[in-house]
Symmetry: C2
Subunit: 235 residues, 2 copies
Protein backbone atom coordinates (compact mmCIF):
# COMPACT_ATOMS: atom_id res chain seq x y z
CA UNK A 1 0.00 0.00 0.00
CA UNK A 2 1.40 3.35 -1.03
CA UNK A 3 1.63 6.05 1.64
CA UNK A 4 -0.49 9.17 1.13
CA UNK A 5 1.40 12.36 0.28
CA UNK A 6 0.46 15.83 1.53
CA UNK A 7 1.77 19.24 0.53
CA UNK A 8 3.93 21.08 3.04
CA UNK A 9 5.42 24.14 1.36
CA UNK A 10 6.90 25.65 4.53
CA UNK A 11 8.75 22.50 5.51
CA UNK A 12 12.55 22.68 5.75
CA UNK A 13 15.49 20.61 6.92
CA UNK A 14 15.73 22.21 10.36
CA UNK A 15 12.27 21.04 11.46
CA UNK A 16 11.65 17.87 13.45
CA UNK A 17 7.95 18.53 13.95
CA UNK A 18 5.55 20.07 11.41
CA UNK A 19 1.96 21.28 11.69
CA UNK A 20 -0.21 20.96 8.59
CA UNK A 21 -2.37 23.94 7.62
CA UNK A 22 -6.11 23.79 8.22
CA UNK A 23 -7.15 22.54 4.77
CA UNK A 24 -4.54 19.80 4.69
CA UNK A 25 -5.29 18.78 8.29
CA UNK A 26 -8.97 18.49 7.47
CA UNK A 27 -8.26 16.44 4.36
CA UNK A 28 -5.82 14.15 6.18
CA UNK A 29 -7.80 13.57 9.37
CA UNK A 30 -11.45 14.13 8.51
CA UNK A 31 -11.63 13.01 4.87
CA UNK A 32 -8.97 10.30 4.72
CA UNK A 33 -9.49 9.37 8.41
CA UNK A 34 -5.85 9.13 9.36
CA UNK A 35 -5.07 9.02 13.04
CA UNK A 36 -2.25 9.26 15.56
CA UNK A 37 0.52 6.78 14.73
CA UNK A 38 -0.18 6.67 10.97
CA UNK A 39 2.74 7.19 8.64
CA UNK A 40 2.29 9.87 5.97
CA UNK A 41 4.59 11.51 3.44
CA UNK A 42 5.01 15.25 2.99
CA UNK A 43 6.21 16.94 -0.20
CA UNK A 44 7.64 20.46 -0.09
CA UNK A 45 7.15 20.98 -3.84
CA UNK A 46 10.89 21.55 -4.28
CA UNK A 47 11.91 17.91 -4.52
CA UNK A 48 11.95 17.17 -0.78
CA UNK A 49 9.91 14.16 0.35
CA UNK A 50 9.65 13.66 4.09
CA UNK A 51 8.66 10.53 5.98
CA UNK A 52 6.57 11.42 9.03
CA UNK A 53 4.29 9.97 11.71
CA UNK A 54 1.14 11.71 12.96
CA UNK A 55 1.61 12.68 16.62
CA UNK A 56 -1.52 14.83 16.98
CA UNK A 57 -4.53 14.02 14.79
CA UNK A 58 -6.19 17.38 15.39
CA UNK A 59 -8.50 18.02 12.44
CA UNK A 60 -7.52 21.67 12.21
CA UNK A 61 -3.82 21.46 12.99
CA UNK A 62 -2.54 17.97 12.46
CA UNK A 63 1.01 17.58 13.79
CA UNK A 64 3.61 15.14 12.51
CA UNK A 65 7.06 14.02 13.65
CA UNK A 66 9.60 13.99 10.83
CA UNK A 67 11.72 10.87 10.64
CA UNK A 68 13.47 11.12 7.30
CA UNK A 69 13.98 13.13 4.14
CA UNK A 70 14.72 12.20 0.57
CA UNK A 71 15.75 14.95 -1.86
CA UNK A 72 14.78 14.07 -5.43
CA UNK A 73 16.67 15.57 -8.37
CA UNK A 74 14.95 18.31 -10.37
CA UNK A 75 13.50 17.19 -13.70
CA UNK A 76 15.92 17.82 -16.55
CA UNK A 77 15.92 19.39 -19.03
CA UNK A 78 13.63 22.20 -17.82
CA UNK A 79 10.45 22.53 -19.89
CA UNK A 80 8.68 25.88 -19.94
CA UNK A 81 5.48 26.96 -21.60
CA UNK A 82 4.22 30.52 -22.11
CA UNK A 83 0.53 30.38 -22.98
CA UNK A 84 -2.18 32.99 -23.56
CA UNK A 85 -4.87 32.36 -20.94
CA UNK A 86 -8.34 31.72 -22.33
CA UNK A 87 -11.35 33.90 -21.53
CA UNK A 88 -13.11 30.75 -20.32
CA UNK A 89 -11.48 30.05 -16.93
CA UNK A 90 -12.29 26.34 -16.86
CA UNK A 91 -10.38 25.73 -20.09
CA UNK A 92 -7.15 27.13 -18.76
CA UNK A 93 -7.69 25.40 -15.41
CA UNK A 94 -7.93 22.07 -17.26
CA UNK A 95 -4.72 22.94 -19.03
CA UNK A 96 -2.91 23.70 -15.77
CA UNK A 97 -4.07 20.43 -14.19
CA UNK A 98 -3.03 18.37 -17.19
CA UNK A 99 0.27 20.18 -17.74
CA UNK A 100 1.20 19.62 -14.10
CA UNK A 101 0.22 15.94 -14.27
CA UNK A 102 2.19 15.30 -17.44
CA UNK A 103 5.15 17.37 -16.29
CA UNK A 104 6.29 20.94 -16.90
CA UNK A 105 8.53 23.16 -14.79
CA UNK A 106 7.27 26.66 -15.54
CA UNK A 107 4.01 28.11 -16.84
CA UNK A 108 3.95 31.74 -17.93
CA UNK A 109 0.59 33.44 -18.64
CA UNK A 110 1.39 35.16 -21.92
CA UNK A 111 -0.07 38.58 -22.67
CA UNK A 112 -0.04 38.85 -26.45
CA UNK A 113 -1.89 41.24 -28.74
CA UNK A 114 -5.04 39.10 -28.90
CA UNK A 115 -4.94 37.66 -25.36
CA UNK A 116 -8.40 38.07 -23.85
CA UNK A 117 -7.46 37.31 -20.26
CA UNK A 118 -4.66 39.16 -18.57
CA UNK A 119 -5.48 38.69 -14.90
CA UNK A 120 -5.22 35.34 -13.19
CA UNK A 121 -6.61 33.89 -9.97
CA UNK A 122 -3.23 32.90 -8.65
CA UNK A 123 -4.37 31.17 -5.45
CA UNK A 124 -7.01 29.05 -7.14
CA UNK A 125 -4.61 28.06 -9.90
CA UNK A 126 -1.90 27.29 -7.36
CA UNK A 127 -4.25 24.85 -5.62
CA UNK A 128 -4.94 23.11 -8.92
CA UNK A 129 -1.20 22.68 -9.49
CA UNK A 130 -0.67 21.30 -5.98
CA UNK A 131 -3.47 18.73 -6.41
CA UNK A 132 -2.11 17.65 -9.77
CA UNK A 133 1.41 17.32 -8.38
CA UNK A 134 0.24 15.11 -5.52
CA UNK A 135 -2.15 13.12 -7.74
CA UNK A 136 0.59 12.32 -10.22
CA UNK A 137 3.13 11.40 -7.50
CA UNK A 138 5.57 14.18 -8.33
CA UNK A 139 7.74 16.16 -5.93
CA UNK A 140 8.28 19.37 -7.83
CA UNK A 141 5.50 21.93 -8.04
CA UNK A 142 5.40 23.70 -11.42
CA UNK A 143 6.11 27.41 -11.08
CA UNK A 144 3.22 29.60 -12.20
CA UNK A 145 4.71 32.99 -13.02
CA UNK A 146 3.03 36.38 -13.14
CA UNK A 147 1.49 37.28 -16.50
CA UNK A 148 4.17 38.64 -18.82
CA UNK A 149 4.06 40.71 -21.99
CA UNK A 150 4.85 38.90 -25.23
CA UNK A 151 7.76 41.20 -26.04
CA UNK A 152 9.34 40.55 -22.65
CA UNK A 153 9.03 36.76 -22.93
CA UNK A 154 10.48 36.82 -26.44
CA UNK A 155 13.57 38.65 -25.18
CA UNK A 156 14.14 36.20 -22.29
CA UNK A 157 15.39 32.61 -22.22
CA UNK A 158 18.39 33.30 -24.42
CA UNK A 159 20.07 29.97 -23.80
CA UNK A 160 17.08 27.68 -24.29
CA UNK A 161 15.80 26.07 -27.44
CA UNK A 162 12.83 28.23 -28.28
CA UNK A 163 9.66 27.53 -30.25
CA UNK A 164 6.54 29.40 -31.23
CA UNK A 165 3.44 27.40 -32.26
CA UNK A 166 1.11 29.26 -34.60
CA UNK A 167 -1.53 28.60 -37.26
CA UNK A 168 -0.40 31.04 -39.95
CA UNK A 169 0.16 29.32 -43.29
CA UNK A 170 3.94 29.75 -43.11
CA UNK A 171 6.44 26.97 -43.42
CA UNK A 172 6.76 25.11 -40.13
CA UNK A 173 8.23 21.84 -38.89
CA UNK A 174 6.55 19.52 -36.40
CA UNK A 175 7.70 20.21 -32.85
CA UNK A 176 8.45 16.49 -32.49
CA UNK A 177 10.81 16.58 -35.46
CA UNK A 178 12.73 19.74 -34.64
CA UNK A 179 13.09 19.61 -30.84
CA UNK A 180 16.41 18.27 -29.56
CA UNK A 181 16.58 16.01 -26.52
CA UNK A 182 18.35 17.09 -23.36
CA UNK A 183 18.06 20.85 -23.84
CA UNK A 184 16.07 23.33 -21.78
CA UNK A 185 13.08 24.34 -23.84
CA UNK A 186 10.43 27.03 -24.00
CA UNK A 187 7.39 27.10 -26.28
CA UNK A 188 4.90 29.92 -26.86
CA UNK A 189 1.20 29.12 -27.36
CA UNK A 190 -1.07 31.86 -28.68
CA UNK A 191 -4.63 32.96 -27.88
CA UNK A 192 -7.80 31.76 -29.66
CA UNK A 193 -7.26 34.30 -32.45
CA UNK A 194 -3.60 33.22 -32.79
CA UNK A 195 -0.49 35.36 -32.65
CA UNK A 196 -0.37 38.29 -35.07
CA UNK A 197 2.02 38.02 -38.05
CA UNK A 198 4.08 40.80 -36.39
CA UNK A 199 4.40 38.75 -33.20
CA UNK A 200 5.49 35.66 -35.12
CA UNK A 201 8.11 37.78 -36.92
CA UNK A 202 9.29 39.34 -33.65
CA UNK A 203 9.73 35.88 -32.10
CA UNK A 204 11.54 34.52 -35.16
CA UNK A 205 13.85 37.52 -35.18
CA UNK A 206 14.66 36.68 -31.55
CA UNK A 207 15.56 33.10 -32.47
CA UNK A 208 12.27 31.26 -31.90
CA UNK A 209 11.55 28.50 -34.41
CA UNK A 210 7.99 28.31 -35.75
CA UNK A 211 6.48 24.87 -35.18
CA UNK A 212 3.31 22.91 -35.84
CA UNK A 213 1.63 20.67 -33.24
CA UNK A 214 -0.06 18.29 -35.67
CA UNK A 215 -2.49 18.24 -38.55
CA UNK A 216 -5.61 19.64 -36.90
CA UNK A 217 -6.59 23.11 -35.71
CA UNK A 218 -6.31 23.07 -31.91
CA UNK A 219 -7.89 25.25 -29.25
CA UNK A 220 -5.40 27.18 -27.11
CA UNK A 221 -5.61 24.86 -24.09
CA UNK A 222 -5.41 21.77 -26.31
CA UNK A 223 -2.37 23.16 -28.11
CA UNK A 224 -0.77 23.79 -24.70
CA UNK A 225 -1.38 20.21 -23.59
CA UNK A 226 -0.19 18.71 -26.85
CA UNK A 227 3.00 20.81 -26.59
CA UNK A 228 3.60 19.57 -23.03
CA UNK A 229 3.16 15.93 -24.13
CA UNK A 230 5.47 16.38 -27.12
CA UNK A 231 8.15 18.16 -25.08
CA UNK A 232 8.12 15.36 -22.51
CA UNK A 233 8.37 12.73 -25.23
CA UNK A 234 11.37 14.41 -26.76
CA UNK A 235 13.09 15.65 -23.60
CA UNK B 1 -11.89 34.79 -44.51
CA UNK B 2 -12.62 31.11 -43.93
CA UNK B 3 -16.14 29.89 -44.56
CA UNK B 4 -18.07 28.56 -41.57
CA UNK B 5 -18.69 24.80 -41.49
CA UNK B 6 -21.88 23.15 -40.21
CA UNK B 7 -22.65 19.51 -39.54
CA UNK B 8 -25.06 17.76 -41.89
CA UNK B 9 -25.05 14.04 -41.12
CA UNK B 10 -27.97 13.18 -43.42
CA UNK B 11 -26.47 14.85 -46.46
CA UNK B 12 -25.72 12.68 -49.50
CA UNK B 13 -24.67 12.97 -53.13
CA UNK B 14 -28.19 12.81 -54.55
CA UNK B 15 -29.34 16.02 -52.82
CA UNK B 16 -29.30 19.44 -54.46
CA UNK B 17 -31.05 21.20 -51.60
CA UNK B 18 -30.57 20.53 -47.86
CA UNK B 19 -32.47 21.72 -44.80
CA UNK B 20 -30.46 22.11 -41.59
CA UNK B 21 -31.96 20.75 -38.38
CA UNK B 22 -33.37 23.19 -35.83
CA UNK B 23 -30.26 23.51 -33.65
CA UNK B 24 -27.94 24.07 -36.59
CA UNK B 25 -30.38 26.49 -38.23
CA UNK B 26 -30.58 28.52 -35.04
CA UNK B 27 -26.80 28.58 -34.68
CA UNK B 28 -26.28 29.54 -38.32
CA UNK B 29 -29.00 32.20 -38.66
CA UNK B 30 -29.62 33.54 -35.16
CA UNK B 31 -26.21 33.23 -33.51
CA UNK B 32 -23.84 33.71 -36.45
CA UNK B 33 -26.34 35.96 -38.28
CA UNK B 34 -25.94 34.43 -41.71
CA UNK B 35 -28.55 35.36 -44.29
CA UNK B 36 -29.87 34.45 -47.71
CA UNK B 37 -27.09 34.45 -50.29
CA UNK B 38 -24.27 33.66 -47.82
CA UNK B 39 -21.94 30.83 -48.71
CA UNK B 40 -21.48 28.15 -46.01
CA UNK B 41 -19.82 24.73 -45.94
CA UNK B 42 -21.46 21.53 -44.73
CA UNK B 43 -19.58 18.49 -43.42
CA UNK B 44 -21.25 15.08 -43.38
CA UNK B 45 -18.77 13.67 -40.85
CA UNK B 46 -17.72 11.00 -43.37
CA UNK B 47 -15.20 13.07 -45.29
CA UNK B 48 -17.67 14.90 -47.51
CA UNK B 49 -17.44 18.70 -47.55
CA UNK B 50 -20.17 20.51 -49.48
CA UNK B 51 -20.13 24.07 -50.77
CA UNK B 52 -23.58 25.63 -50.41
CA UNK B 53 -25.48 28.92 -50.55
CA UNK B 54 -28.30 29.82 -48.16
CA UNK B 55 -31.58 30.07 -50.09
CA UNK B 56 -33.93 30.35 -47.09
CA UNK B 57 -32.59 31.91 -43.88
CA UNK B 58 -35.39 30.53 -41.71
CA UNK B 59 -34.06 30.34 -38.15
CA UNK B 60 -35.65 26.95 -37.54
CA UNK B 61 -35.14 25.29 -40.91
CA UNK B 62 -32.43 27.00 -42.86
CA UNK B 63 -32.28 25.76 -46.43
CA UNK B 64 -29.20 25.70 -48.64
CA UNK B 65 -28.54 24.98 -52.31
CA UNK B 66 -25.62 22.60 -52.82
CA UNK B 67 -23.14 23.69 -55.47
CA UNK B 68 -20.19 21.35 -55.01
CA UNK B 69 -18.71 18.48 -53.06
CA UNK B 70 -15.19 17.55 -52.10
CA UNK B 71 -14.55 14.06 -50.67
CA UNK B 72 -11.54 14.04 -48.36
CA UNK B 73 -9.56 10.85 -47.79
CA UNK B 74 -10.00 9.06 -44.46
CA UNK B 75 -7.16 9.59 -41.97
CA UNK B 76 -4.61 6.77 -42.16
CA UNK B 77 -3.57 4.73 -40.33
CA UNK B 78 -6.73 4.31 -38.22
CA UNK B 79 -6.18 5.13 -34.54
CA UNK B 80 -8.51 3.58 -31.97
CA UNK B 81 -8.69 4.01 -28.22
CA UNK B 82 -10.63 1.86 -25.76
CA UNK B 83 -10.89 3.74 -22.47
CA UNK B 84 -12.65 3.08 -19.16
CA UNK B 85 -15.08 5.96 -18.64
CA UNK B 86 -14.60 7.91 -15.44
CA UNK B 87 -17.26 8.25 -12.76
CA UNK B 88 -16.92 12.00 -13.09
CA UNK B 89 -18.71 12.79 -16.37
CA UNK B 90 -16.90 16.07 -17.01
CA UNK B 91 -13.53 14.33 -17.06
CA UNK B 92 -14.49 11.91 -19.81
CA UNK B 93 -16.32 14.63 -21.73
CA UNK B 94 -13.15 16.66 -21.64
CA UNK B 95 -11.25 13.63 -22.95
CA UNK B 96 -13.70 13.15 -25.84
CA UNK B 97 -13.42 16.78 -26.85
CA UNK B 98 -9.62 16.71 -26.80
CA UNK B 99 -9.31 13.32 -28.51
CA UNK B 100 -11.60 14.49 -31.32
CA UNK B 101 -9.68 17.75 -31.71
CA UNK B 102 -6.29 16.05 -31.84
CA UNK B 103 -7.54 13.22 -34.04
CA UNK B 104 -8.76 9.68 -33.40
CA UNK B 105 -11.04 7.49 -35.49
CA UNK B 106 -12.77 5.30 -32.90
CA UNK B 107 -13.47 5.60 -29.18
CA UNK B 108 -14.67 2.51 -27.31
CA UNK B 109 -15.99 2.89 -23.74
CA UNK B 110 -14.17 0.01 -22.05
CA UNK B 111 -15.90 -2.01 -19.35
CA UNK B 112 -13.09 -3.52 -17.30
CA UNK B 113 -13.18 -5.06 -13.83
CA UNK B 114 -12.71 -1.73 -12.03
CA UNK B 115 -14.63 0.51 -14.44
CA UNK B 116 -17.00 2.64 -12.41
CA UNK B 117 -19.12 3.93 -15.27
CA UNK B 118 -20.72 1.54 -17.72
CA UNK B 119 -23.52 3.63 -19.16
CA UNK B 120 -22.91 6.58 -21.39
CA UNK B 121 -24.98 9.57 -22.47
CA UNK B 122 -24.53 8.86 -26.16
CA UNK B 123 -26.37 11.90 -27.53
CA UNK B 124 -24.57 14.40 -25.30
CA UNK B 125 -21.20 12.85 -26.08
CA UNK B 126 -22.00 12.78 -29.79
CA UNK B 127 -22.65 16.54 -29.70
CA UNK B 128 -19.27 17.09 -28.04
CA UNK B 129 -17.57 15.12 -30.80
CA UNK B 130 -19.38 17.07 -33.51
CA UNK B 131 -18.39 20.43 -31.98
CA UNK B 132 -14.78 19.32 -31.65
CA UNK B 133 -14.71 18.06 -35.26
CA UNK B 134 -16.03 21.38 -36.57
CA UNK B 135 -13.84 23.44 -34.25
CA UNK B 136 -10.70 21.65 -35.37
CA UNK B 137 -11.61 21.86 -39.09
CA UNK B 138 -11.84 18.12 -39.61
CA UNK B 139 -14.25 16.26 -41.89
CA UNK B 140 -14.41 12.86 -40.23
CA UNK B 141 -16.45 12.44 -37.06
CA UNK B 142 -14.83 9.99 -34.62
CA UNK B 143 -16.99 6.92 -34.07
CA UNK B 144 -18.14 6.51 -30.47
CA UNK B 145 -18.99 2.85 -30.04
CA UNK B 146 -21.28 1.20 -27.51
CA UNK B 147 -19.57 0.23 -24.22
CA UNK B 148 -17.78 -3.10 -24.64
CA UNK B 149 -16.50 -5.68 -22.19
CA UNK B 150 -12.74 -5.87 -21.73
CA UNK B 151 -12.59 -9.52 -22.79
CA UNK B 152 -14.43 -8.76 -26.02
CA UNK B 153 -12.18 -5.83 -26.93
CA UNK B 154 -9.08 -7.89 -26.22
CA UNK B 155 -10.22 -10.57 -28.67
CA UNK B 156 -10.94 -8.05 -31.45
CA UNK B 157 -8.65 -6.02 -33.69
CA UNK B 158 -6.49 -8.96 -34.68
CA UNK B 159 -4.65 -7.17 -37.46
CA UNK B 160 -3.82 -3.97 -35.64
CA UNK B 161 -0.82 -3.11 -33.56
CA UNK B 162 -2.19 -3.35 -30.06
CA UNK B 163 -1.12 -1.74 -26.80
CA UNK B 164 -2.27 -1.73 -23.19
CA UNK B 165 -1.19 1.16 -20.93
CA UNK B 166 -1.04 0.26 -17.24
CA UNK B 167 0.67 1.33 -14.02
CA UNK B 168 1.73 -2.07 -12.67
CA UNK B 169 5.46 -2.22 -11.94
CA UNK B 170 6.14 -4.60 -14.84
CA UNK B 171 8.62 -3.99 -17.59
CA UNK B 172 7.17 -1.67 -20.20
CA UNK B 173 8.43 0.39 -23.11
CA UNK B 174 7.32 3.92 -23.91
CA UNK B 175 4.49 3.98 -26.42
CA UNK B 176 6.50 6.48 -28.48
CA UNK B 177 9.43 4.06 -28.74
CA UNK B 178 7.53 0.89 -29.56
CA UNK B 179 4.75 2.09 -31.87
CA UNK B 180 5.42 1.67 -35.59
CA UNK B 181 4.37 4.32 -38.09
CA UNK B 182 1.78 3.60 -40.76
CA UNK B 183 -0.05 0.76 -39.01
CA UNK B 184 -3.60 0.72 -37.68
CA UNK B 185 -3.38 0.94 -33.90
CA UNK B 186 -5.50 0.35 -30.82
CA UNK B 187 -4.60 1.24 -27.24
CA UNK B 188 -6.41 0.30 -24.02
CA UNK B 189 -6.58 2.81 -21.14
CA UNK B 190 -7.71 1.57 -17.72
CA UNK B 191 -9.93 3.01 -15.00
CA UNK B 192 -8.74 5.07 -11.99
CA UNK B 193 -7.84 1.89 -10.09
CA UNK B 194 -5.97 0.56 -13.15
CA UNK B 195 -6.41 -2.76 -14.92
CA UNK B 196 -6.14 -5.87 -12.72
CA UNK B 197 -3.01 -8.02 -13.13
CA UNK B 198 -5.29 -10.69 -14.66
CA UNK B 199 -6.55 -8.25 -17.27
CA UNK B 200 -3.01 -7.20 -18.18
CA UNK B 201 -2.07 -10.87 -18.57
CA UNK B 202 -5.17 -11.59 -20.65
CA UNK B 203 -4.33 -8.70 -22.99
CA UNK B 204 -0.68 -9.72 -23.28
CA UNK B 205 -1.71 -13.31 -24.05
CA UNK B 206 -3.84 -11.89 -26.87
CA UNK B 207 -0.86 -10.01 -28.31
CA UNK B 208 -1.20 -6.58 -26.69
CA UNK B 209 2.12 -4.95 -25.77
CA UNK B 210 2.27 -3.27 -22.36
CA UNK B 211 3.36 0.36 -22.65
CA UNK B 212 4.09 3.40 -20.52
CA UNK B 213 2.86 6.91 -21.32
CA UNK B 214 5.63 8.81 -19.54
CA UNK B 215 7.24 9.22 -16.16
CA UNK B 216 4.31 10.47 -14.09
CA UNK B 217 1.17 8.82 -12.79
CA UNK B 218 -1.71 9.99 -14.98
CA UNK B 219 -5.44 10.13 -14.39
CA UNK B 220 -7.51 8.03 -16.79
CA UNK B 221 -8.62 10.94 -18.98
CA UNK B 222 -5.10 12.41 -19.04
CA UNK B 223 -3.63 9.04 -20.02
CA UNK B 224 -6.19 8.82 -22.82
CA UNK B 225 -5.31 12.26 -24.11
CA UNK B 226 -1.56 11.60 -23.91
CA UNK B 227 -2.03 8.32 -25.81
CA UNK B 228 -3.94 10.13 -28.56
CA UNK B 229 -1.17 12.74 -28.90
CA UNK B 230 1.55 10.07 -28.97
CA UNK B 231 -0.30 7.92 -31.52
CA UNK B 232 -0.74 10.93 -33.81
CA UNK B 233 2.92 11.86 -33.48
CA UNK B 234 4.01 8.36 -34.45
CA UNK B 235 1.32 7.56 -37.02
Amino acid sequence: MELPVFYAPELNDSMTVYTMNEDTSKYCIQVLRHEKGDQVLLADGRGGRYTTVIIDDNRKKCQVQISGKEQLPAPEPALRIAIAFTKNASRIEWFLEKAAEIGVQTIIPLVSHRTEKEKIKAERLQNILVSAMLQSKQCYLPVLEEPQAFSKVVQSFGEEQRFIAHCLPDQKQDLGDVMEAGRNTIILIGPEGDFTPEEVKQAMDAGFKPVSLGKTRLRTETAGMVAVVMMNMKA
